[in-house]
Symmetry: C2
Amino acid sequence: MDARADVLLEGRWQPSRDGVGEFRPTDPATGEALAPAFPVSGAGDAQAALAAACAVADELAAADPQRIAAFLDGYAQAIEDDAAELVALAHRETALPVEPRLAQVELPRTTGQLRQAARAAREYAWTEPTIDTVAGLRSHLAPLNKPVLVFGPNNFPFAFNAVAGSDFASAIAARNPVIAKLHPSHAATGRRLAQLAHRALLDAGLPAASVQALYQLRHTEGLRLAGDPRMGAIAFTGGRGTGLALKAAADAAGVPSYLELSSLNPVFLFEGALRARGAALAQEFVGSCTLGVGQFCTNPGLLVVPRGAAGDAFVAAAAERMAAAPGGAVFSQGVRDHYLSALAQWRSLGASALAGDAPADGPGYRVRPALFCIDAAQFLTKPGLQTEAFGPASLIVRTADVAEAVAVIGALDGQLTGTLYADAEDRAARDAVAAALRPKVGRLIGGRMPTGVAVSAAMNHGGPYPSTGHPGFTAVGLPAAIRRFAALHCYDHIDDGHLPVELRDRGPAGMMRKIDGHWTASAVGESA
Amino acid sequence: MDARADVLLEGRWQPSRDGVGEFRPTDPATGEALAPAFPVSGAGDAQAALAAACAVADELAAADPQRIAAFLDGYAQAIEDDAAELVALAHRETALPVEPRLAQVELPRTTGQLRQAARAAREYAWTEPTIDTVAGLRSHLAPLNKPVLVFGPNNFPFAFNAVAGSDFASAIAARNPVIAKLHPSHAATGRRLAQLAHRALLDAGLPAASVQALYQLRHTEGLRLAGDPRMGAIAFTGGRGTGLALKAAADAAGVPSYLELSSLNPVFLFEGALRARGAALAQEFVGSCTLGVGQFCTNPGLLVVPRGAAGDAFVAAAAERMAAAPGGAVFSQGVRDHYLSALAQWRSLGASALAGDAPADGPGYRVRPALFCIDAAQFLTKPGLQTEAFGPASLIVRTADVAEAVAVIGALDGQLTGTLYADAEDRAARDAVAAALRPKVGRLIGGRMPTGVAVSAAMNHGGPYPSTGHPGFTAVGLPAAIRRFAALHCYDHIDDGHLPVELRDRGPAGMMRKIDGHWTASAVGESA
């Protein structure tokens, strides 16, 4: 029997101070429990983490951004140096394929994101300096001087990991300490990342308690941390129920929360596009829906397809491909149970199964890709059909005309994405649907499936409630994602020597700032 | 008996559909009720307003920003043309002096703000266009396509009026319909502004229900509106209790809320500055504290003064000036009751009255300026001393040393402003206090009293909870204040012809956009 894993608490690896329980991640492909055991943290760990993070918050906020950047860059390098081991651990805990997903896609995305955050920190790119020389006012975005509590999801062991992903990198770039609540389903991967982060932190000379990591938190303790007035912000990616409970706790204490909850990511296929390339679209859709065993926030979970021959042909082709698509193991027993229960709910509400209406064979947490179908008129009367089946499943809604497609949009909750597949001849229908869809989604996509989320300054991985908790922010894409963890600070007639670097007469070299209404890289008082 | 005033509902002036009550504003200088009577709105008006605003939200969101700007400019002009009547009404309802406050300061500030909002709308200055040509992504801030519910405060009949102030101008600039909940204490002023707004709206050819106005809302109906998922956002300026109740309702429905609640605006006076010009500082402080009968969000409500001779002399001079300062009428019976009750609480918690410890004589809602004093050691044990006395009152906290001043800061709630009066010799103490104070306040002020709030792009009229509801946003200063009422919209491989103007290859002439990581006014594909 291995020893129980230590937690990263108060700047060092130490045994959990709580005796509230332990767990073992499992191999989703076999269902076998893996070693070692990990502790479930209770009030002892949670409160110690909060106190330690608060104790270093001011020092971290005042740290030289070069040091922050050195940490993020050093951490990215350490992840690359350790890639083989990390990928092997993550593969074992998630059953995601080593190639290309973990080694070629997700790990490089993660290190690239950390390096983008390093650059944003170094260049003050998130701080939006604004100077009014006439009024004597200067303002910028600044650290919260408080900890950020990050809850990582199950579906990205690296790129959204609470101790390595976008929320982590964003909070650190804004010079806030992070308390990472790792996801228990890939606890060993999270632990190894935290070890690399911890070493890189010490190498960079930052306070050791700037990064802390717990594997699992008792529910009540998570809520208590989220609702503690000493907390600066919380970031959460995961299921709607847990996310909204955390939001309620945070809201009550005035703690801003940034939540990525759930989304059906509706895809609208128009007549002309279906006639021209229905079979290709069916292939594209099935590829997107089954990628990563469907475990993406932006999985295409709802297809809106017009009635008629072209739509029928697409649906038949999609059903055939879905039935033939290989199943796969989802991350945990819990994910499988939720998936099957969502499909059962769709069925009970009148949706017809076109594929995947049988349990999967084999060991572990295997599921089959599933495709269901229902008429729009029925969909509109059954809000329960908007239950997300997190996994390789999609519900096709058949519409009689554009008005019905628009009515479906009217009934939808806020979504991360919405996609349009339209040809030139679809223009009128496409425009009507796009106008209705635009305010319901964070990202409007033309002619491609939603599963790709580029790390770009122009990305919005966000959307109207309840896909996220706030329509104005993105969880992916720098420097915008960093601004979630910032406070607006104004200086009113404060001497140049007492100003932060970005607000001094002579700012960081080459930095664009808004001075007296104009963007300029010049110093205050110099002509551009 | 005059007829009861109509409400501005569904694009026209009409009688309230509710019979839940009526009220009359009073003249604070005399306590006399003014004509006409105004209706208290219940569910009938509230739900009609919400439905009407939702019905025009998409049309307004799609409106040409030139038209939005024409409305805001036309409205500003109409206010100027009607200035004499507006000022007379506001004077009668608030007892604020016509000259200079209402006519020379607040009215021009209000029209200037509307014109700044017009310019921001016309120039898309709030939209932050970001283009990534490699990833095919373009994003910007866009209208919410939902109504904004604005609650105006009692203390600015023009500049923060729900139908004319910063929240109003910001929400309209972002092309969202506004439901204005006017402040009942100056209902006739609000009605006249709403009449001007309504006419300017029709002249500009915008949907008539884009601006609606109710005088008073039954408490339960206000909460119901704030917590309706059809609401895009709420903006509130006022007391903490009401604001937090609205926040809780909005939070539960995922509606973003922007609240300006209350603030003590601590002012730190250092030894050197006190020795050099203590008498002048006492004069400056009393002027700021009694301006507008102390009814400012940024009134200096807490002074931190070191023990010793220089501090004693300042306190004595301030007490003498406060005792001699003329009292004045506050806005309402309610304001006076709260003021007196806060002073009674300070007294009961051990603070000594240095001035103003007697009821005011004369008619109406008169109060005396009040100055109280307590030792830091006692202040630290009595959180109740942080109760805001909204009016011309301040509490002096005497500190033994810098450590005690820092401890006082540690005990303070989040604040809108914090002020430092320090000379060169105070450097060490000033820096220690500034470091502690910075994260507790939205605006750090050097050597001047906090009551001035310039309308500037570099202003932050915001601060950490509970001074406001979110540390990242300002209620004053454009274009930043507009961004509160925006959603982040991303376009992923959408054709140029289907993009919003700001995101097309060729954007608005001269507009600075972030394209592939660089700020440029050039079109996509053109070199800068």
